[in-house]
């Protein structure tokens, strides 16, 4: 856990970065555009079908809920490319969306949880890949994957569902800094000015 002092510095830095991005004309233009912002947002959401769709199929195979008779490695390898293409599109459109509304997003508790879940999902994916590579030759054609793999698949579905959910809730203003919130929420969302006003 970060101490009060270092988290305050981190929050200041993040807010400074967000305000710097916000000072670009492009950022405001994008946010206020009639069609561009909705199109980028739609691309971000619809690409879920490519990225999460493929991921879902791979994880369902590992949980023996789909493609039981197809070797697990075939599903994982053939769907890797479309999944990563989807991921790349999501990352690019995600950065553009952040660039369009940097300050509010930086101070969104949901966005912060989303980033933490993204990191967790990434670590889980790396571990999963390693476990697959080490052991897949011993169970490739079996309908039921080893427990370690099944746990990894379940964690993967859970983390990514969490990323989608927290991504969606960024749009809700329930815990925006300008609202009256518990002190803990001001701290967690990095509401620098509100915290300063309290002291």
């Amino acid at each position: 856990m970060l101490t009060g002092g270092s988290s305050a510095i981190l929050n200041e830095l993040l807010l400074d970065l967000a305000r710097y991005l916000d000072s670009f004309e492009w950022s405001t233009a994008l946010h206020e555009s009639y069609y561009m912002y909705p199109w980028i947002e739609t691309t971000h959401v619809l690409t879920l079908m490519v990225f999460l769709g493929m991921l879902c199929i791979i994880d369902l195979r590992m949980l023996s809920l789909a493609f039981k008779d197809t070797p697990a490695s075939v599903i994982a390898e053939r769907l890797d490319k479309p999944m990563m293409i989807g991921f790349a599109v999501m990352v690019i459109t995600g950065f553009i969306l952040y660039f369009a509304i940097p300050v509010r997003t930086t101070q969104s508790i949901w966005f912060r949880i989303k980033v933490v879940l993204l990191i967790a999902a990434g670590i889980n994916a790396l571990l999963f890949r390693n476990r697959m590579r080490e052991s897949v030759h011993t169970w490739d054609t079996a309908a039921r994957a080893p427990k370690r793999i099944r746990v990894g698949a379940m964690l993967s579905l859970g983390f990514w569902a969490g990323v989608v959910v927290t991504g969606r809730t960024i749009a809700y203003d329930w815990y925006d800094c300008h609202k009256e919130l518990p002190n803990f929420m001001y701290w967690a969302a990095g509401c620098v000015d509100e915290l300063a006003a309290l002291q």
């Binding site: 909705p38 947002e41 739609t42 959401v45 619809l46 879920l48 079908m49 490519v50 990225f51 999460l52 769709g53 493929m54 991921l55 879902c56 199929i57 369902l60 789909a66 493609f67 008779d69 197809t70 075939v74 599903i75 053939r78 769907l79 479309p82 569902a161 989608v164 959910v165 969606r168 809730t169 809700y172 329930w174």
Partner: protein
Amino acid sequence: MDLLFLFEWLDTSFLATMSKAYGGVFAVVQMFHLLSMSMLGGMVILSDLRLLGVLMKDVPSEVVVENTNKWFGVALVVLIISGIFMSSAVALKLYYNEMYWAKMITLLIGIVFFYAIRKPLLKHDHSTINPWALRSLAVSSLIIWFTVAASGRWIGFS
């Protein structure tokens, strides 16, 4: 046929009482809608790209279609249930929203296309089906479901 009565009924139903009063409940249901959209889209994309010979060429297309159809159905059920709940929160507004009707019409086309045309046809051995028929089936399916999802997102913008 005027369906306004249906929306007026939905607007005063028990569902609407819940979806209007509790923003949190609405948000949770919307999440299920979004997650099952990812699943439905994934199943459509994989099976259609397989029929087009783009993905998983070394797995028989019959196997791919059979496995994806099952989860397509599961996702569709969750989407419809969560969709009705979400509609109840803004039923009357939706009745006058063009994008909503664009989505409902393409959705209806999609369901009929999937269960009355695509599924029965693909039950046959795929090698006995004209490859161009398979390709046009796949392309139509991709276009229909993309339109459903995109017009669905656009309800919120319009």
